[in-house]
């Protein structure tokens, strides 16, 4: 097990393994997102109270979940990088942080677009919404810190540290709807009880969530590979690999 992890920590081996996985992830993501979009926009019923605005939740829930998952991964990668000095963890962090920020922004915007017809307001300073806004600023900080130092190594360490500290915000977001009185409803999916909405609604939602996660994995693999090539450009294996693919379609 440990040997397998160590081998994957080698950029050259990760590059090869990710290259083999990546087309499947992209295909899976596109298939799930297409199916989920059709299901959510066409076949799923309108809500008896919310009407068709409930369809916004098919993009709101996946983006909000990803916004938090990506940050947890960012903190984990930061920890691995700071403690064990595994460069690959930092390359992954650099590759996924902007996507996490975009997901946070999308969750906020789609939430506002849903709140307008449902709550009658696009924003309230309640615990869930405010902690999510803080998450966006934390992402921006993590991204900005990386570029704030002349030495790339210092920027990477500062960025990892902020991700590690900032991850305390994730449980605050998660439990904000239970700890405080908020306008936001409680979680839709839980491991311990069945969903509170009919299957005709949570099934397409599950497909969309799976589609967004598959998309994230595909994007993370692709971008981390680019980052590996960029940083390892002086190594022999990269040169040999590029020489081999020159002239052919790049894989």
């Amino acid at each position: 097990m440990w040997r397998a992890i160590h081998r994957l920590g080698s950029p050259a081996i990760f590059y090869a393994v990710a290259g083999r996985l990546q087309p499947w992830c992209w295909a899976l993501a596109i298939a799930l997102l297409l199916a989920g979009s059709l299901w959510g926009l066409v076949w799923a019923p309108a809500d008896y109270q919310q009407g068709d605005s409930v369809r916004i939740l098919y993009v709101h829930v996946p983006t909000a979940l990803l916004a938090q998952s990506v940050f947890v991964l960012l903190a984990a990668a930061g920890g691995v990088f700071l403690v064990w000095r595994i460069k690959l963890a930092d390359m992954l962090a650099a590759a996924i942080a902007p996507f996490g920020a975009l997901m946070t922004l999308l969750a906020l915007v789609s939430g506002a677009l849903w709140g307008l017809p449902t709550w009658g307001t696009w924003w309230v300073w309640d615990a869930r919404l405010t902690s999510m806004l803080i998450q966006l600023f934390l992402y921006l900080g993590v991204i900005a810190l990386r570029g704030a130092y002349t030495a790339a190594e210092s920027g990477a360490r500062a960025s990892a540290l902020l991700a590690l500290v900032g991850v305390v915000n994730v449980p605050i977001i998660k439990f904000s709807v239970d700890w405080w009185q908020t306008l936001h409803q409680a979680a839709t999916f839980s491991l311990v009880r069945p969903p509170s909405m009919p299957a005709s609604m949570w099934l397409p939602l599950l497909v969309m969530v799976a589609g967004f996660y598959a998309f994230f994995v595909a994007l993370a693999l692709t971008r981390t590979r680019s980052e590996i090539l960029r940083r390892e450009s002086r190594t022999r294996w990269v040169r040999e690999r590029v020489a081999r693919t020159t002239g052919k379609a790049a894989r």
Partner: protein, 67 residues
């Protein structure tokens, strides 16, 4: 699908101006991310393939790009 049904679907029960922007934005962001990742990979590979004057990409990143 009849024209009426299509119009009713597009109207989203009166919530069209909330539903469509939310979806359009989300799908546009995903498409943008995918395209960006693809172009980034091309860019990195192109830079690596260019005959290296000295060293690798680090030298070129700051160099003036004649293109």
């Amino acid at each position: 699908m009849s024209l009426d049904a299509l119009q009713a679907w597009l109207a989203m029960g009166g919530d069209a101006r909330y539903v469509w922007p939310a979806w359009a934005l989300a799908l546009a962001v995903l498409a943008g991310c995918a395209l960006h990742a693809r172009r980034e990979r091309r860019r990195v590979l192109d830079a690596l393939r260019r005959p290296a004057r000295r060293g690798g990409m680090e030298d070129k990143r700051d160099a003036h790009d004649p293109a």
